[in-house]
């Protein structure tokens, strides 16, 4: 490796966070590495690992309270950690560019896409006036968008298109280094896949050096040739992708890897699911094995199992057109199914497929436009607001975002006490006892300590357990879980899933599991329904459907699942 080959040298770089009124913390600590020209490098880590902070530091975009406290960043021989603002600005053309995680919001909502390009050209003067239009068309073409996109405002583009525009804009700087910060995280599964392909192709054709920052080791391993694994501000592993995949040296890397599996495999197993996977494969027994992550449950059930089914018959939901002159939105089209007592059913599809709308209709939040939904003797579609309480006594919900689902100002105990008081009639000491039992059930021990905590004192996984405990508080018959693990770090997902599975088995509740993640569906559900554009395209036993899909859409979904094993080259 000659020194000419080196584009970027990071030495002893530390980035410190100095929030007002709190102690400074190091987000990146004494990191050193080098990047060769034309290399495609992945930077992997879970939330809080410092990977984005490092990415921002590399492109000198750190803003207070973050600050580069130490170290050098030699870019093409210049230390960009210390150059002044105007020099830095000039360096950006032909230097380093960044594509932000939230590509949706990276574009100025009041400027046309064309103007975005022209702004960049004007700022650096590297494209002459006459060639501006031509160049903009060229760039927008490179990200596989039609030239007409230039006339649009960001608000008129889909998330994927906007992310492509950001990439094209970054590309317009003709950079030697491109940093992609979670470029696909906010996008839909299928779109994610397509955008990643574009990035890979561009990198190959344009030959820039690329850094792909992601929490998803699967995506990174699929795309890159070298991977840096970050954990708590430190790079714990740095090596070629194939080596990381096959012979990881750091425990942390090994742990991350263990959470990937192919939903199509004969036997699917994740940490905490080892036995279960085999059992399911064998179609077997009901003896529960506690996952190592949480304590055994001790609650004795007063009402043992679910008795009523949810019957959905020919349900459609049509929303009025969002804008005048447009067609009404048909979110759900003629969907029928029955969730038998004790059954676990997965509802999968990408966003906009109607799966969440179905959940809302079952819980009475929305009314179906056509068809009927019955739960036991209740006609859900005809319930008035006051009667919803009767429904919620038996049908509970686990939300997608554990950060949003808990009121930040209430303690865990308050949050759990409310449904207990409202639905079970327990009061005072008894209610408290019940709350503590619930906490124990979801594996939050010591229970007394957790009861007194506020949400911000809990990790994401712990919060989701509280959310699950709340759903259980009134002994419901049905739990509807809307993407319960999608917001969690990979390493935390398995634990929460195992808990859900456990509870379903032991408490005998029915589970409607809504997800875009086929792997998790495979793990915890017996049956599956694939939704596309509001209609059911495929249904059956989960293992059967995933192993032998018949619908093209199901196949496409399966293809999009990141898989470290499936290497690019």
């Amino acid at each position: 490796m000659s020194s000419d080959d080196i584009l970027l040298t990071v030495e002893d770089l530390s980035v410190v966070y100095e929030p007002d009124g709190a102690d400074p913390t190091f987000a990146v600590e004494n990191v050193s590495f080098e990047l060769r020209r034309g290399e495609f490098v992945g930077l992997v880590g879970e939330s809080g690992s410092g990977k984005s902070t490092l990415g921002f530091a590399l492109t000198r975009l750190s803003k207070p309270p973050a600050r580069i406290s130490h170290g050098t960043i030699l870019f093409d021989g210049t230390d960009i950690a210390s150059i002044d603002a105007e020099h830095l600005r000039e360096q950006r053309q032909g230097g380093f560019a960044m594509v932000l995680q939230s590509g949706m919001n990276a574009l100025n909502p009041v400027r046309t896409i064309r103007n975005h390009f022209f702004d960049v050209f004007t700022a650096h003067g590297h494209v002459s006036r006459e060639r501006r239009e031509e160049r903009a068309r060229e760039l927008i073409g490179k990200v596989e968008l039609p030239a007409a996109t230039l006339d649009r405002f960001p608000g008129e583009l889909s998330g994927g298109m906007r992310q492509r525009v950001s990439i094209a804009l970054a590309l317009s700087l003709e950079p030697q280094l491109m940093v992609f910060d979670e470029p696909t995280t906010a996008l839909d599964v299928l779109v994610q896949h397509a955008v990643m392909n574009t990035i890979r192709d561009l990198q190959a054709s344009e030959g820039f050096t690329a850094v792909l920052i992601s929490h998803d080791l699967g995506i990174v391993l699929e795309a890159t040739e070298r991977v840096l694994v970050m954990h708590e501000g430190v790079i714990v592993e740095d090596g070629p992708s194939s080596e990381i995949l096959n012979a990881p040296t750091a425990d942390y890397t090994r742990m991350l890897l263990s959470h990937y599996a192919d939903p199509r495999a004969e036997v699917v197993s994740l940490p905490g699911f080892e036995d279960r996977a085999i059992r399911r494969q064998a179609g077997a027994s009901r003896s529960a094995v506690a996952s190592p992550e949480h304590a055994p449950t001790v609650v004795t059930r007063s009402i043992s199992t679910a008795q009523e089914s949810i019957v959905v018959e020919h349900v459609s939901k049509t929303y009025p057109p969002p804008r005048r002159g447009e067609q009404p939105v048909r979110a759900v089209r003629d969907v029928s199914f029955t969730l038998e007592p004790g059954q676990s059913l997965a509802l999968v599809g990408q966003s906009g497929s109607g799966k969440s709308t179905i959940a809302k209709m079952i819980t009475g939040v929305e009314k179906p436009s056509e068809g009927s939904i019955r739960f036991g003797g209740l006609d859900v579609a005809k319930l008035r607001r006051g009667q919803l309480r009767d429904l919620h006594r038996n049908v509970q919900m686990v939300f997608q975002d554990p950060y949003a689902a808990l009121n930040p100002l209430h303690t865990v105990e308050y949050t759990l006490t409310r449904p207990v008081v409202n639905f079970t009639g327990l009061k005072g000491r008894d209610a408290r006892q019940r709350v503590l039992e619930l906490l124990e059930t979801v594996g939050l021990a010591p229970v007394e300590q957790f009861a007194a905590k506020l949400p911000h004192e809990l990790s994401g996984g712990q919060r989701q357990r509280v959310v699950i405990a709340r759903a259980l508080a009134c002994d419901p018959q049905v739990i509807i879980a809307d993407e319960p693990v999608s917001m969690l770090d990979v390493s935390l997902r398995a634990g929460v899933l195992a808990l859900l599975e456990d509870l379903r088995e032991k408490w005998g509740v029915s589970l409607l599991y809504i997800t875009h993640d086929l792997l998790s569906a495979r793990l915890i559900t017996g049956n599956i329904m694939v939704l596309h554009d509001g209609a059911v395209v495929e249904r059956g036993e989960t293992a059967e459907v995933l192993q032998r899909p018949t619908d093209d859409y199901t196949v496409a979904l399966l293809e999009a699942v990141p898989n470290p094993q499936r290497t690019r080259r």
Partner: protein, 312 residues
């Protein structure tokens, strides 16, 4: 500790006999106070406000004379006996100024509190309900926004003759709540879509409890900000109404001091501490509230918190 939630005419929620404690409002307020205090501008504001509040509380002790005593020589210039001179009626200006702090602080506090209360009750219910009730409230609020403030105040003040401070507070509240209600509604609307609110519905909570126990505490900063804003405009409105002679000129307040100053042409007689001092006090008091709001802004929008400077 548990506190009684504010309920808006809806059946009271089942008594909360559990030992569970929500984050007590006191804690929330303490956090609010800490964040506000961390802002330099807000800190200055708090200090100024405290000075005025202390002056108001201890006015009888601080004032050198009885503020309504007319026993002194008329229209005196500043002297050792009367630091700010005397009025055309022979009252001590300094004593009146100190006494006047009481009314302004009181009006600001009470009118600010009441109009915030109205704004909270209406804004939150409005944000939470759907359907025609929301339309009706929308209509009423729009009406109050459309009908001109000051002229409305004048008409009401003329109608509610003779009420003195109580009347002024009422007028300020009637004309001042609508804007706050609108702001609080939009925040309520955005909060009601949050998962934790839906979750509360799933927990079997009744609407009033959801609004006031789940949503309201999350808008503390906005409400506090609204309070200071309302208090500021109340203080200015009080001064304006009294200056126009629509208040009770026999009470001693900064507004009436200005009324009498104008009435007796303090500028002509050279008594212009009489004009300058109350105005400056009003401005300082209102400024202090505005400054505090700099800190309050930082509560709801962390971007508005003061940044530590980058050290190199």
């Amino acid at each position: 500790m548990t506190t009684t939630p504010i309920t808006a005419g809806t059946p009271a929620p089942p008594p909360d006999t559990s030992v569970a404690a929500a984050a007590s409002p006191l804690q929330v307020l303490a956090r609010v106070a800490a964040t506000v205090w961390s802002n330099t501008k807000a800190r200055i504001g708090v200090v100024i406000l405290l000075l005025f509040v202390l002056a108001a509380i201890f006015a009888p002790l601080l004032a050198p004379y009885d503020p309504s005593s007319t026993e002194f020589a008329r229209s005196q210039d500043a002297s050792a006996g009367h630091w700010l001179g005397t009025t055309a009626a022979g009252e001590d200006v300094l004593s009146q100024l100190i006494q006047g702090a009481r009314i302004s602080v009181f009006v600001g506090f009470v009118a600010g509190l009441l109009s915030t209360l109205v704004a909270v009750l209406i804004g939150l219910s409005w944000g939470y309900v759907r359907g025609w009730v929301g339309d009706v409230i929308n209509f009423v609020v729009n009406l109050f926004l459309v009908v001109p403030g000051l002229p409305l105040m004048i008409v009401i003040a003329a109608y509610l003759q003779n009420g003195g401070i109580g009347m002024i507070i009422l007028v300020v509240v009637i004309t001042g709540w609508a804007w706050g209600a609108r702001v609080l509604r939009s925040q309520t609307q955005s909060l009601r879509g949050r998962d934790f609110v839906t979750a509360a519905v799933f927990s079997g909570e009744r609407p009033a409890r959801i609004v006031f126990r789940e949503i309201l505490p999350n808008m503390t900063s906005l409400i506090v900000g609204n309070f200071f804003g309302a208090a500021t405009s109340a203080i200015l409105a009080e001064a304006g109404l009294e200056f126009l002679g629509l208040g009770d000129p026999s009470t001693v307040s900064w507004g009436t001091m200005l009324f009498w100053a104008q009435n007796s042409n303090a500028l002509l007689t050279g008594q212009w501490a009489l004009l300058f001092a109350p105005g400056l006090c009003i401005a300082l008091l209102a400024t202090s509230l505005t400054l505090i709001n700099f800190g309050v802004d930082g509560l709801s929008n962390p971007r508005l918190r003061e940044r530590r400077k980058v050290r190199k």
